[in-house]
Amino acid sequence: MEQYLEEQYDIMDVCLLAGKIMLESGAETYRVEDTMMRIAKNYGIKESHSYVTPTGIMFSIETEEPTKTKLIRISDRTTDLKKVMLVNSTSRRIANGELDVPQAYRILKRIYKDDETYALMTRIAAAAVSSGCFLMMFQGSWADFIPAMIIGGLGFASVVYVHDLVLIKFFSEFMAALVIGLLAAGAVMTGLGQELDKIIIGSVMPLVPGLLITNAVRDLIAGHFISGLSKGAEAFLTAFAIGSGIAVVVTLL
């Protein structure tokens, strides 16, 4: 009997799991709502309502039975565009009628559990190379390319490392900016680098909250004011953390 109950997946669980994965991976609010409602509709639920904020999802479906409502809390948000895409394509397959409810639930569960990201070293290397490239885009000189690369990579590594130690996003970004500022100042003092400003700007770019800004704008346009404003606040906080980290170094000089 218990076995049976465990196997009994619900349309509601499928919708909420899909929404949870998307929201935790950095999808726009309206996409999360749209996906959940679409899945519900494709499984024959005529009316469903959702209320999505960056920190929680409320979802209710109306059937012949009394209305069912569930609330789930979202506490951890990262950026994982691959998961957004996988859930999106799963939702498309549901729309095509390829998946029944248990199948869809199993697929989503697998997406949720899978942590198929690029290796940490690859991401650090990507951040390093991007930093160097940004330096060139901002009219830096080739002499600063290697310092910016190394400092940008170390900055990104320290944001990941500090975030593992203390789960306060503000602090890890602040520390990373501090590391970048100190290293850049050190590089310029020892003569390895030339333009302090350009090196700092290039190396800081991997920390810039680009996704949050874009999402905030797109949410605001779509009329999701609470999500848009809170994402905007999060982006502002990140920018502030980076700025104050750099500011400490500039004041010390």
Binding site: T117, V129, V208, I246, A247
Partner: protein, 147 residues
């Protein structure tokens, strides 16, 4: 030569951001392409002496349009392409200058840099809104033609 350097570096930088944001492997070159085209639009416009704000609007518009096309063609969420494209336009340098002026007590410069950073972020938003509006108008007119 300058243009060539910018083409190459903006492609690599945008693709690198694809990796940081864990975009799917097959989407990485598209991220790079969107970023490159957007940055080239911005770079060439500012090179012609057009102000930063209109250049940013134009570049952001272009990024959003290309991302929309990609998301239709490859059936993937638009956000995958738009994010890596937008990053180079984010006024990191101006914001940094504002911050530095604030901590060195040069409030006049700080405020003018901050205002500029704010304007540029606003114009990124403007560019995205414009493309969204146009795509919605096109969608509606197509519906009317069929109906």
């Amino acid at each position: 030569m300058d243009i060539l350097i910018n083409i190459v570096t903006s492609f690599i930088a945008a693709a690198g951001f694809g990796i940081i944001f864990n975009a799917p492997r097959e989407a990485l070159w598209k991220c790079g392409l969107v970023g490159m085209l957007g940055w080239m639009a911005y770079f060439l416009l500012t090179f012609q002496g057009i102000g930063e704000v209109p250049a940013t609007v134009a570049a952001a518009f272009m990024i959003a349009v290309i991302s929309q096309v990609f998301s239709r063609v490859y059936k993937a969420p638009i956000i995958i392409y738009i994010v890596s494209g937008i990053i180079p336009l984010v006024p990191g340098g101006t914001a940094y200058n504002a911050m530095r002026s604030f901590v060195t007590n040069d409030y006049n410069m700080a405020l003018s840099f901050a205002a500029k950073a704010f304007m540029v972020s606003g114009s990124i938003a403007m560019g995205i809104v414009l493309s969204e509006v146009i795509s919605q108008i096109m969608k509606q007119s197509r519906l009317k033609r069929i109906g």
